[in-house]
């Protein structure tokens, strides 16, 4: 355990571990701002989980965001970094780090080629190592939410959590009729704290000079914030689960858990409990190539159906959210960060499909539209070349309908990450915010296929699914 912690700290970017001093007047101001009382300030300290986890998340976020102004003029860059460090330090002290650390952990661990394998594995364990609420606290919270003791409302309710969720924990239970349940319970008060913290983060980040794409970056931040806030609302997740069940009703080999709405609120979510193995556990059983290909195909088919026919982006493809059931079916869990496309976002998707079909100018038009580029930006050959390379990378697995795409080769994933990294460095980050979610989904599913070392007829599935959706 000791060496693990040491490894964590070593892995942090230097800037994130440097204490926030009062190097500049600006930094002082920011610090003062941070010390202002917040609406839920009384309980802020209560959730402080120590500085280590905070540093880890802050470190990774620093790396992520600083890429956005890598070429900034030195003075502005320092000023921005001072603000950013202050913001992230505050961010690091915030109560929901339990959730945020895990989110960052999951995200990083989902990209095995981005960080050293050992670090990715350690980060993926964060998902399961969050300190649990003891049962008496949880029972009291559930009682307040459902207006009754768990012992009265449920046939049984296990006192130990069987999984940590990013913003809560999950318990096995049964309905009074004996149906098997997974009950997800959110930490009391965490939602309001996140809302307050997000407002403060926004205040801290908004004066940052992030170059010509500043507004777009802030728009993206706002989008991520809104989506995170949406994730706090288990009622919204319940709606997505029901919607997904409906969309996938014709796929008998795919299961999305049913919601027990009478035992659910915005902070308690009672779902059908699926019996089987999580993806990593399943892979540990050394399934045959045929089985891995089958599961990957189901994953592509079901998530594509959600995407095209359901207009839903399943935003959190993570090994912990996928199960292979005892009867061989695929289970999809966790619809907390699902996105339902609005009209404009759907236009981006359909124009993208047209661009794929027609190529050439249509493809460039789709890219301009998706990235919301100005004429000047669209006339920048370097930027357009990157976007085109990215598009080609995206469509590559779909190119051949008659041949399975081989995800076992890490070169494909690495190439995608390289393009993504270079785009960030060059500040070609301008995009409609929905692309953040689409990219997370897109990378996520492909990385999962790579993790499964699967070969899959992605092109055929894609053609079938867009036809099914009438595109």
């Amino acid at each position: 355990m000791e060496s693990r912690i040491a490894d964590f700290v070593t892995a942090l970017p230097e800037e994130a571990t440097r204490p926030v001093g009062a190097q500049t007047e600006l930094a002082k101001l920011v610090e003062d701002l941070a010390l202002r009382p917040m609406p839920t300030g009384r309980v802020h300290r209560a959730w402080s989980l120590g500085t280590l986890s905070a540093k880890i998340a802050a470190g990774w976020m620093t790396m992520w965001i600083r890429g956005a102004f890598a070429n900034e003029e030195e003075r502005a860059r320092q000023s921005n970094e001072a603000r950013l460090r202050a913001a992230l330090t505050i961010f690091g002290r915030m109560g929901y780090m339990r959730g945020a650390v895990m989110k960052v952990g999951q995200l990083i661990s989902n990209y095995p080629d981005l960080v050293p394998k050992e670090l990715a594995e350690m980060l993926s364990h964060l998902h399961f190592e969050a300190p649990p609420m003891h049962y008496s606290l949880l029972a009291e919270h559930v009682r307040h939410e459902l207006k009754g003791d768990p012992e009265e409302l449920f046939g049984s309710f296990e006192t130990e959590a069987f999984a940590a969720a990013s913003l809560g924990q999950v318990h096995r239970a049964q309905t009074l009729a004996g149906d098997k349940l997974a009950v997800k319970v959110q930490y009391p008060g965490i939602g309001r704290t996140i809302q307050a913290d997000m407002r403060n983060m926004s205040v801290l980040l908004s004066p940052m000079l992030l170059g010509s794409d500043r507004d777009n970056l802030m728009e993206q931040y706002a989008y991520v914030r809104d989506m995170l806030l949406l994730e706090l609302d288990y009622e919204s997740e319940a709606r997505f689960l029901e919607q997904a069940r409906e969309v996938l009703a014709d796929l008998p080999d795919v299961v999305v858990p049913r919601v027990y709405s009478e035992l659910s609120t915005d902070k308690v979510l009672s779902m059908e409990r699926l019996e089987g193995l999580h993806l990593s556990e399943w892979l540990d059983t050394n399934p045959s190539q045929e089985e891995r290909d089958r599961i990957a195909a189901l994953l592509f088919q079901s998530t594509s159906r959600l995407f095209f026919a359901g207009k839903l982006c399943w935003g959190d493809p993570h090994p912990g959210n996928i199960m292979v059931l005892e009867d061989g079916r695929l289970g999809l869990l966790d619809f907390g960060s699902c996105r339902s496309f609005d009209e404009h976002e759907w236009d981006i998707v359909t124009l993208g499909v047209d661009g794929y079909r027609e190529g050439g100018e249509k493809l460039r038009e789709a890219m301009r539209f998706a990235c919301d580029l100005s004429e000047k930006q669209a006339a920048d050959p370097d930027r357009m070349q990157y976007l085109e390379d990215y598009s080609l990378w995206y469509w590559e697995p779909m190119e051949n309908v008659d041949e399975a795409f081989d995800f076992t080769d890490p070169a494909y994933i690495q190439h995608g990450m390289k393009l993504f990294g270079e785009c960030s460095q060059k500040r070609y980050t301008r995009a409609h915010p929905v692309n953040l979610y689409n990219a997370r989904f897109l990378y996520g599913v492909r990385v999962l296929a790579h993790t499964m070392k699967a070969r899959c007829y992605v092109g055929r599935i894609f053609q079938e699914e867009i036809a099914h959706a009438g595109l």
């Binding site: 009384r42 300290r45 959730w47 609420m133 049962y135 008496s136 606290l137 930490y187």
Partner: protein, 201 residues
């Protein structure tokens, strides 16, 4: 006419029921002893034969609720809880019974249970404190609390209770978090491995 013990007990019960109803309906501050006497259908003077003032009435309601909570606590213990969870269960069970009185528990905290109250000033307050701490002593008997830690515990308890009376978060969910965290800190302070000791390295 001689008032029998049974009749006295009945009157006392009637006054308490009326007080409960009036405090909840009108609020503690707005309820006068005249209201209470009228609701209990007795003369105002008679009321004072039973209770010194309305604060004493409120303290009695609180004491009765906490006595009932004591029984609940024994039933709710599963037997596999650690100290932090046992203390949480003890306090939260009390809050459950006090829920209908949340509006005026603050008044009791300020009088009978105030940390500034000297021993002996409020017999009922002393009893409440001693009964509560007896349970805590029993729970910590394997690692007995010294006088400092016992005082620390009591201070935390009163602090959380005060927070609860004014907690306007949905379903008072912040109280759960504050209580849990307070107990975590307390239990850590009780343990040598708590990380709250100065580093010896």
């Amino acid at each position: 006419m001689k008032v029998t013990q049974e009749a006295k007990r009945a009157t006392r019960r009637r006054i308490l029921a009326a007080a409960r109803e009036q405090f909840i309906a009108r609020g503690f501050e707005a309820t006068t002893t005249r209201d209470l006497a009228a609701a209990a259908d007795i003369a105002k003077g008679t009321l004072f034969n039973y209770f010194e003032n309305k604060e004493a009435l409120a303290a009695t309601l609180v004491a009765d609720a906490l006595a009932a909570a004591q029984e609940d606590f024994g039933k709710r213990l599963r037997g596999d809880e650690d100290l932090r969870e046992q203390l949480f269960l003890h306090i939260s069970t009390g809050f459950r019974r006090l829920e209908p009185y949340r509006g005026f528990v603050g008044a009791v905290l300020e009088t009978a249970l105030s940390p500034f109250a000297k021993n002996g000033v409020s017999r009922l307050g002393d009893e409440l404190r001693m009964e509560h701490l007896d349970v805590v002593r029993e729970l910590t008997k394997d690692d007995p609390l010294d006088v400092v830690r016992l005082h620390l515990y009591w201070t935390l308890y009163l602090g959380v209770a005060a927070f609860w009376t004014a907690d306007d978060s949905p379903n008072q969910e912040d109280t759960l978090a504050v209580l849990d965290e307070s107990l975590r800190v307390f239990v850590l302070s009780q343990s040598d491995q708590g990380g709250l000791q100065p580093s010896r390295s």
